[in-house]
Symmetry: C2
Subunit: 337 residues, 2 copies
Amino acid sequence: MIRAARGDAIDRHPVWFMRQAGRSLPEYRKVREGITMLDSCVQPELAAEITLQPIRRLDVDAAVLFSDIVVPLFLAGVDVEIAPGVGPVINKPIRSAADVAELPDLDPAALAPVSEAISLIVEELGPKPLIGFAGAPFTLASYLVEGQPSRDHLTTKALMFSDPDTWHALLAWAARVSTTFLRVQGEAGASALQLFDSWVGTLSLPVYDEYVAPHSTDVLNGVADLGLPRIHFGTKTSELLVAMRACGADVIGVDDRTPLSVAIKRLGSDIPVQGNIDPAMLFTPWPMLQAHVDEILRAGRAAPGHIVNLGHGVPPTADPDVLARIVEYVHQVPVQL
Amino acid sequence: MIRAARGDAIDRHPVWFMRQAGRSLPEYRKVREGITMLDSCVQPELAAEITLQPIRRLDVDAAVLFSDIVVPLFLAGVDVEIAPGVGPVINKPIRSAADVAELPDLDPAALAPVSEAISLIVEELGPKPLIGFAGAPFTLASYLVEGQPSRDHLTTKALMFSDPDTWHALLAWAARVSTTFLRVQGEAGASALQLFDSWVGTLSLPVYDEYVAPHSTDVLNGVADLGLPRIHFGTKTSELLVAMRACGADVIGVDDRTPLSVAIKRLGSDIPVQGNIDPAMLFTPWPMLQAHVDEILRAGRAAPGHIVNLGHGVPPTADPDVLARIVEYVHQVPVQL
């Protein structure tokens, strides 16, 4: 997986799944019984166990830390909870310069539970890589401003447009949080880092370039010295792929709304990509899913490296056996040089 | 507005707003007290009153029928309600061939309340046009399959991929509903027709072309003989604009995620466009909003016709005075030939 991320020669196609550690696995649902999402992220043994569950079951080529985009906000002291069926809820949304000024800076020491989890994971993983991740500044900010997941991010964009100084101060804070969160993961033993800008597809390219890209660039630059591949991903980002790369990514994650061949061409066919099996295809008969995977493998050959993944997270209703079958199949398909 | 939709010379820029009749107006909130959304759509006097409220207040160049995408489903006899704060809820989602076979066809006579509302509206409007609208087949189907608004349309896409026969039967049914709904509106006196594919931005272009476009084409072709401008619009459709045009649209609506100049260029600069003020800009100081409107007017000159609108519906929290100011301003900006 790391070789593909660097564009080096590989002897088999690497594959992992965003949200592979999570609700689709019965063993996950069992260990999560009676414990909140955030608590499960900050208990090192539990977070390690959940991270490792899909490794034991699926033969994927990388683990991804079981965590959440808002975990560093939580550990910084922001009043956030993850409400079941809703998502992250910020009890006092950030809407003014004064609100931003009061945001607590994230002390790397507060991330000790994350470092401890990673130590436990890396010990069991052996040579298999662990991917660390963080939410990108825009996505963190949109949670902080909206107070909860939003369809159109109207309040976020209104703040951005009407009070750019406050906006940039907020994104600078969020960039420091993201950077710290990623650095701690890298220093604790993660082998690659993924920056998730989950909601950025709500923006046009000129708006992204002006209000977001400088801060995502700060995050990616801020971890460059670790020498780990930096993956940059968001959904609905077909128009933003080139700009997201320009922030300093080593690998671009492609969602399932953009055909992989189109994304690679748009990116210039000179950067490794990750993606983009349509999660809806997990619910189709195997021959159809196999043909879809074949098409993605074929398209991926136009890039210098290709990490097979879904175009979005594993749906909670996905059948783990289908994920296992994809891994088995992808590993069997010959790598054409 | 109709001249702009046809690409004919105009003497001032036409402007209206998607969802101009609705929750942003206090007079709307007043008349809706104690009455459900669907009931208010099928009481002709009330639907007419609500449709006309923004005409009296905003000086917009067109009325748009106060209705909802699911109204024709409701009048066809589908068990649907609009749950406050949620949106349309289908009590028995459509997931199988048998479910599709049981869907009741829409008798044009069942749309009498809509025709009556339009007669009342057109009488008061005089020469000002009324825009009729319908949900496009994909959007209707996604409500029917998911049972409620969805972020990723996973169930819809799973049905589409795994059971294409059922999918195409469902979309053919939905296309008949959309066509009937639009035809009744045109025959009752609407001067233009807008086909809303609200959720289609969830699809990649190849998926759209294979599973959706033929049915949207049937709808647009099915009303072509009425001779009314056909506007085609969806959000997050930057990759789909050309394909949506190819369905038979006379005007393409552009959402605020795509700069209007980019959309016009992508479309070939030879079809009128509608859009695309960012609704978030309604919450910024006037000089910033004015500059944004100026930029959109300037970009619109590259198309043979441009109808000023938002890139999405009026947010419930918008200030109607801001909308009125936009109309006043747009009407003052000279038309450059």
